[in-house]
Symmetry: C2
Subunit: 228 residues, 2 copies
DNA sequence: ACACTTTGTGTTGTGGTTACACAAAGTAGA
DNA sequence: TCTACTTTGTGTAACCACAACACAAAGTGT
């Protein structure tokens, strides 16, 4: 058996769709390229996969060095392989998506970028490479995943109110959900636990504070969204 | 802007989980390696991605040259990146799964393999590399996909009876489904069309023959499998 | 004390699913 | 040809989950 040396291989990169949620707005983290190709254009953060690192390792490297983030939810999305997707030559990209609470971090541009910014998913600029396509798939994946897996909490604070969770779902799914039916579904599924404490402050009646139920039974959870 | 030449990249391969269904048995196509590593061990068919080809192209190359197959359903599954997954060196594998009607092809071993054989998913041999893991994920994906997407027909003949379709679902999902309720669900979803013809032959009452409904509305279809 | 907002809880009607029964169509054997 | 048996097609009743509601409780400000 001989190790492979001989063949030339496509470049291998990881690209990240980092979702953040704040003030009823779902946003994506983009970075402005300093160099060609797509100089001064917004793109998804990413990096080439080193010979001795896993995809997840590459993801963390990007998150830490380029974005100053740490310990976030990551999931592999899809691998993109169009021949012409990178003008510099053949390059394959393994896309991941991340869910982040933007409050926990303040993003700053690394050396490679002019700027790093959160963009509401409703107001995206033109993206370089095939990153629009990658983003679209990530958005869809998030929409379907939130219906059957407890990932929404990654976007919120540890403690949150039912209304906050409810608005998050409406924002991501882009539909209206009956407040009271939503509450029952979430509670029945045992996704969350009432902490007994209440949010004190500005508004009217003080709402209960919940937290994610870590010892979650495999109870199948499915939100049936009516197509009104 | 300069083209990238300098960096060394991991090897990039495609591996295929080819599912076939016949006589109430779901099988996977495996091939017996002629060379190290994993000489004389069963593995998933695969090939290295050439510089100028897409993943799908690589898939078709494998299907045609190694297995003598053509025009089959293909879907990207996941990309596997464990550092030590190939003893020859760093190699990333993009896994695809294929759905095939085994009746349409007779598989023969290509030059690279000792043998090619269908194995019932219930009686798999030991697999080389991390192919057991890839297979498991493919199996799960098939199970969930069949519940909301019309992929099952890829495994059957053009014309089929309701009982055949019903048994296929039970086989893949590994649960019992009420015959009559299954019929109604499938028909309501307009997945299939009654051809008006009947299957003549050996048995008792001659069953209606159906075919897949090609002009299928986006009608959401979801089989709720009870967890008995 | 009152109007108003937000939050927590309960109820009712309906549509879809499950769990059945039964008739129709064919085969095989006496 | 009559009967027993198998498979296939169709219908129905009970039930459950969901959607669409009303209403009470807990705050705020005037």
């Amino acid at each position: 058996m001989k190790a492979f040396q001989s063949y030339k291989n496509p470049s291998l990169a990881v690209d990240l769709v980092v979702f953040g949620y704040h003030n009823n707005i779902l946003s994506v983290l983009l970075l402005n390229r300093k160099e060609e190709p797509f100089k001064d254009t917004w793109v998804l953060p990413g990096a080439f996969v080193q010979m001795e690192e896993t995809f997840l390792h590459t993801c963390c490297r990007v998150l830490q060095t380029k974005l100053g983030m740490d310990n976030v939810y990551l999931e592999q999305l899809y691998s993109f392989d169009a021949i012409e997707r990178d003008p510099r030559g053949r390059a394959v990209s393994v896309a991941y998506f991340a869910l982040v609470n933007p409050q926990k971090f303040t993003v700053t541009a690394g050396q490679m970028a002019n700027d790093v910014k959160w963009f509401p998913v409703k107001k995206l600029p033109v993206l370089g490479f095939d990153h629009k396509e990658i983003f679209k798939m990530a958005r869809q994946r998030l929409q379907s995943k939130i219906l059957y897996a407890p990932v929404s909490f990654e976007l919120l604070d540890d403690l949150f109110t039912m209304t906050e969770l409810h608005e998050l779902y409406e924002c991501i799914l882009e539909v209206e959900l009956d407040r009271r039916n939503f509450r029952r579904k979430i509670l029945d599924a045992e996704y969350i636990v009432n902490t007994g404490t209440k949010r004190e402050g500005l508004q009217n009646r003080h709402p209960d504070l919940y937290r994610f139920n870590r010892k979650l039974s495999k109870h199948h959870f499915h939100l049936n969204i009516a197509t009104n």
